[in-house]
């Protein structure tokens, strides 16, 4: 099982699926990924990634500092969903608290979004690209 990610627009539609080159524990830093994020900066809504296990979602310290760095680079706030095989949480920067808080964006029940989450889980189980 591996970590995988998907970059999506403001309606939760896939903009691109980065190659699932993560390990069981991480997705490595990549200048290519940043170049692709930058290229779609006008339409990007967020980046979802998987934690390949059943159960509770929590962001790692690496996740949180990456969220913040990418937002500083883009000059805009994004939505940062994390999906395990059984749960999805959506993290958004909270200005008053100066930290990430969970929230529910409007597209969470959209069919396309739900299909994307299932596809991410399938890829995360390493069931083929």
């Amino acid at each position: 099982m591996i970590e995988v990610a998907m970059v999506f627009d403001r309606e939760g539609r896939a903009l691109f699926w980065p190659a699932p080159q993560g390990s069981a524990g991480s997705i490595p830093d990549s200048s290519l990924l940043w170049d692709r994020i930058w290229a779609c900066r006008d339409v990007i809504g967020g980046i979802v990634h998987t934690h390949p296990w059943n159960g509770e979602v929590w962001p790692s310290a690496t996740d949180l500092t990456t969220f913040r760095a990418i937002e500083q680079g883009l000059g805009k706030k994004l939505i940062w969903p994390i999906a395990t095989f059984t749960e999805v949480k959506y993290y958004i920067w909270d200005d008053p608290d100066e930290s990430y808080a969970t929230d529910l964006p409007p597209f969470v029940s959209n069919e396309v979004w739900l299909q994307n989450i299932e596809e991410l889980r399938r890829l995360s189980r390493n069931e083929g690209v």
Binding site: S23, S26, A69, Q72, L74
Partner: protein, 133 residues
């Protein structure tokens, strides 16, 4: 912000590099080339001051800029681009070292690895150093 059109391109000597900065949704090059072998800390300090002062054409001044979680990429001169380049961009990794270990436990002592543990951290119980695998 420095006026792009007023800038005259500066030739880039062999040991120097053009520095491209991306911050707050804007991108620009430092007006002067920088030594290609400058260390990351010095580069970040120089770029931070330039961002705060609005010294980079194409990027508005950012008084509270923070490059802590940005990374430096270096690109040697090549046939297509005949001068060296340096760029600073946000880091993009996801995940933490804890998820690399079965049941999130230290392989030496079985101690529960903290959620925020990073690669290179030591186990506070036995001193084992955790790594991404």
């Amino acid at each position: 912000m420095v006026d792009n059109e007023a800038m005259v391109p500066v030739p880039i000597p062999a040991h120097m590099a053009k520095v491209t900065v991306t911050y707050a949704g804007e991108q620009g090059d430092l007006p002067d080339p920088i030594a290609y072998d400058s260390n990351d800390a010095d580069l970040k300090q120089m770029i931070t001051e330039s961002l705060r002062d609005g010294y980079i054409p194409g990027i508005r001044a950012v008084p509270d800029c923070d490059l802590t979680d940005f990374v430096i990429d270096r690109f040697a001169a090549c046939e297509a681009v005949p001068y060296a380049r340096i760029s600073i961009r946000p880091k993009t990794p996801f995940g933490g070292v804890r998820k690399n270990y079965p049941r999130n436990k230290c392989p030496d002592c079985g101690y529960q690895i903290p959620k925020d543990a990073q690669a290179g951290d030591e186990c506070s119980n036995c001193g084992h150093v955790w790594w991404n695998q």
